[in-house]
């Protein structure tokens, strides 16, 4: 059996990738995908623990996270389309209308 720590390290790497991508990328779509990556990193650690401790709760959490992520994707993509229509760009650095 693969030890728990392997899963956790992989989960951490996935999350770190997500964070890094969020920070350095300018394209909104990419940033959006980085967020999904972070969520999935977290999901991985949930299921790993669930398997380790034979507890179903962790797996149930994963389903919730996936549902939320799906909903977020729907709303988020809609927002991205709306932003693109008004700003004609997907560069987040230029989406700064709230700044004074």
């Amino acid at each position: 059996m693969v030890p728990l720590s392997y899963y956790l390290v992989l989960s951490g790497i996935l999350f770190a990738c997500g964070v890094t991508g969020f920070l350095i990328k300018r394209n909104i779509i990419t940033i959006f995908m980085s967020i999904e990556l972070m969520l999935n990193g977290v999901n991985l650690s949930f299921v790993a623990f669930a398997a380790q401790w034979h507890a179903l709760r962790g797996q149930v959490f994963v389903f919730f996270v996936m549902v939320v992520a799906a909903a977020e994707a729907a709303v988020g993509l809609a927002i991205i389309i709306a932003v693109y229509r008004t700003r004609e760009t997907l560069n987040v650095d230029r989406v700064n209308l709230l700044k004074l």
Partner: protein, 665 residues
């Protein structure tokens, strides 16, 4: 059962007048303003007379509690009024003389632009003075005490655009604060030790205490502190300096506040607190000494003054000294008697002086007067009556009251004080007749009639109150409305003393019974000795009359017979004369010793040091620091989405690092 006297009406009536005139007077005509002011102060006088009639039938003292004021545990102070023979005398003097001076002021102030303001203040003063007199506890008395100080300040500074008047008002106020400080501490001591400020309770507690003959104890401290307050209000050494400056106010104010009524509040307070003083002989001795020294000191300064009002101011201080001298030998009734006669003749002197000043077009320097007796005969004759009264010419009011004081001082065994008193009587006579001769006799030394200031109080002639028109340009008699009060006061100055010290003493005896007990001891002495005493009294009175006559003669010699002689004498005296002319440099000494260090200290330490360098600097620097910090931090909020995410990530990293560190510890 005593009838309801409605004492509260007396102070409240002038207050109504003050309120109406103060709030709406600007829109009223001068006639309306004077009608309101005279109406309400006159009503107070009528009330006082009515109470005199009622009260003599009813039993005094009469207490009237209006409303509770402070209730704190056992300690309670009410808005309550207290009427006994002592307050009745004061009541009549204040309302009576006050009303007359109100009448006079209508004529005197007619041309002034602040006419309504003047009468509002004057009525306000009456309100506070009557509160002071009728209060049934020290705290309410203190309200009146402070209130008359306020009214005095407002009226001294009536011509507030004039710098000297404004600063004279301030000086009076501040010097009075010093006295009030003593008064307040005395009140605190009373609250602490007697748990009450009501006259009756305090005096009852005090009566139960032993007389502090040897060591100075609680009662002596209270007495001395009360005397500090009285010295401030009644212009005694060392706090007298404000009164001469207070002459910057309009002359009726000098007459009402700074001669007849307010400055006598200290005497009234000491007489009111006589139970305390009777139990503290040392405090009483201090009162006597302060009074005597003030009487002499102020009289010597008065001799060298050339401003007619300043002479009267120093004379007032000196006469107040007499009153304290009387109180100091436990002859309170003599002090109050002199207070009353003094209110008549000094009020009259000031009003007559105002009439003189009016006549010569605002000139106050006696060296530029002279020979006025033919021009202003009414003023001359009334002033003569007052001068005779103050110098103690037999059968005039001052003769009785001053004689009574000197007799009581002598019979109490204080021969030195008596001698100083007689010397002061001589000086009083000298400076008063000097004023009299310089003003009314000889040749007119002022500017010629053509130079007479036409802007001065003249339009009075066009007023319905004084229909008698008088020509412009000359020295002229005052209008009738000013002369009537003069005449009434002159009559009072002549006959006011015939009530006699003995009868007065008897009238006040229910209030001042403590010292009557001493008198009672006297009464048990054999009759022949009393007769002997009576002979002695006559002898002593002749001595003071002789002193007055000597003063008159000297004044006649120097200012009538040989007018050049004073110059030579002044020259011969040299430095001493200079010192006296400059009022012993007391103002200068106070300025150097108290005022200048205070101003310097306030400027350097309190203003520059504490206010600017500590308080302001703290605020400025904290504001500056907050701005610098936020200046540095505000760049975090860039509006850039990724930088926000970076901050979140960094924050999360810090939290995780902290938790890891905590976990591994």
């Amino acid at each position: 059962m005593t009838p309801n006297l409605n004492l509260w009406l007396i102070p409240v009536l002038p207050l109504i007048g003050a309120t109406i005139n103060g709030l709406f007077g600007k829109r009223f005509s001068r006639q309306t303003v004077s009608a309101i002011a005279l109406g309400f102060s006159g009503a107070a006088f009528v009330r006082a007379l009515w109470i005199l009639v009622q009260a003599s039938a009813s039993t005094l003292p009469h207490i009237e509690s209006l409303a509770p004021w402070i209730r704190s545990g056992d300690f309670q102070v009410d808005f309550a009024f207290y009427l006994d023979q002592l307050s009745l005398v004061m009541l009549l003097v204040v309302t009576g003389v006050g009303f007359l001076i109100h009448i006079y002021s209508v004529g005197y102030m007619w041309e002034e632009s602040g006419f309504y303001r003047f009468f509002a203040y004057l009525n306000l003063f009456m309100f506070f003075m009557l509160t002071l007199i009728l209060a049934s506890n020290y705290l309410l008395m203190f309200i009146g005490w402070e209130g008359v100080g306020l009214a005095s300040y407002l009226l001294i500074g009536f011509w507030f655009t004039k710098d000297s008047a404004a600063s004279a008002g301030k000086k009076a106020f501040i010097v009075n604060r010093i006295g009030d400080f003593g008064f307040l501490i005395a009140l605190f001591l009373m609250i602490k030790h007697f748990g009450s400020l009501n006259f009756e309770q305090v005096f009852q507690s005090v009566s139960g205490m032993p007389t502090e003959v040897a060591g100075a104890g609680l009662l002596t401290s209270i007495g001395l502190l009360l005397m500090v307050g009285a010295a401030g209000k009644s212009a005694q050494i060392p706090l007298y300096v404000w009164l001469p400056d207070a002459m910057e106010g309009p002359t009726p104010v000098s007459a009402l506040i700074h001669a007849a009524t307010m400055v006598t509040a200290g005497v009234y307070m000491v007489a009111r607190s006589h139970v305390i003083f009777d139990h503290a002989p040392q405090a009483l001795m201090v009162v006597a000494i302060v009074g005597t020294l003030t009487a002499l000191f102020a009289a010597t300064i008065g001799v060298c003054q050339t401003d007619i009002k300043k002479v009267l101011a120093y004379s007032t201080i000196s006469q107040l000294g007499y009153m304290f001298m009387a109180c100091g030998v436990a002859a309170y009734s003599a002090g109050i008697f002199h207070l009353m006669t003094h209110a008549f003749f000094k009020g009259l002197l000031f009003l007559a002086a105002g009439s003189v000043i009016h006549a010569v077009g605002g000139e106050q320097d006696m060296r530029r007067m002279g020979g006025l007796r033919h021009h202003i005969p009414w003023t001359f004759w009334t002033m003569t009556a007052a001068t005779f009264a103050i110098t103690g010419v037999p059968l005039f009011a001052g003769f009785y009251s001053k004689g009574e004081i000197l007799w009581r001082v002598y019979s109490s065994g204080n021969t030195v004080l008596w001698l100083i008193g007689v010397l002061t009587a001589f000086l009083t006579s000298f400076y008063m007749f000097r004023l009299w001769f310089m003003t009314f006799f000889g040749e007119y030394r002022g500017e010629t009639a053509a130079d007479h200031d036409d802007d001065h109080v003249h339009a009075i002639s066009s007023s319905p109150t004084a229909p008698a028109a008088h020509g412009h340009g000359g020295i002229h008699e005052s209008p009738k409305i000013m002369l009537i009060p003069l005449v009434i006061l002159a009559v009072l100055s002549i006959f006011g003393g015939s009530a006699g010290g003995k009868r007065f003493d008897k009238f006040l005896s229910p209030v001042l019974h403590n010292h009557m007990a001493v008198d009672g001891a006297d009464a048990t002495t054999p009759a022949p000795e009393e007769k002997e005493q009576h002979g002695l009294e006559i002898l002593l009175e002749s001595v003071s009359v002789l002193a007055a006559a000597a003063g008159l003669f000297l004044a006649w010699l120097l200012y009538q017979r040989r007018p050049q002689l004073p110059q030579e004498i002044a020259h011969a005296l040299g430095g001493f004369y200079e010192t006296v002319v400059h009022k012993y440099y007391v103002d200068e000494i106070y300025a150097a010793v108290f005022v200048k260090p205070l101003i310097d200290g306030s400027t350097r330490i309190l203003w520059h040091g504490i206010d600017q360098d500590v308080i302001d600097a703290t605020l400025d620097n904290s504001a500056e620091g907050a701005r610098e910090v936020s200046d540095a931090v505000r760049h975090m909020q860039s509006g850039n989405l990724r930088s926000y995410a970076g901050w979140i990530a960094a924050g999360a990293a810090v939290v995780i690092a902290y938790m890891v560190w905590m976990g591994t510890r």
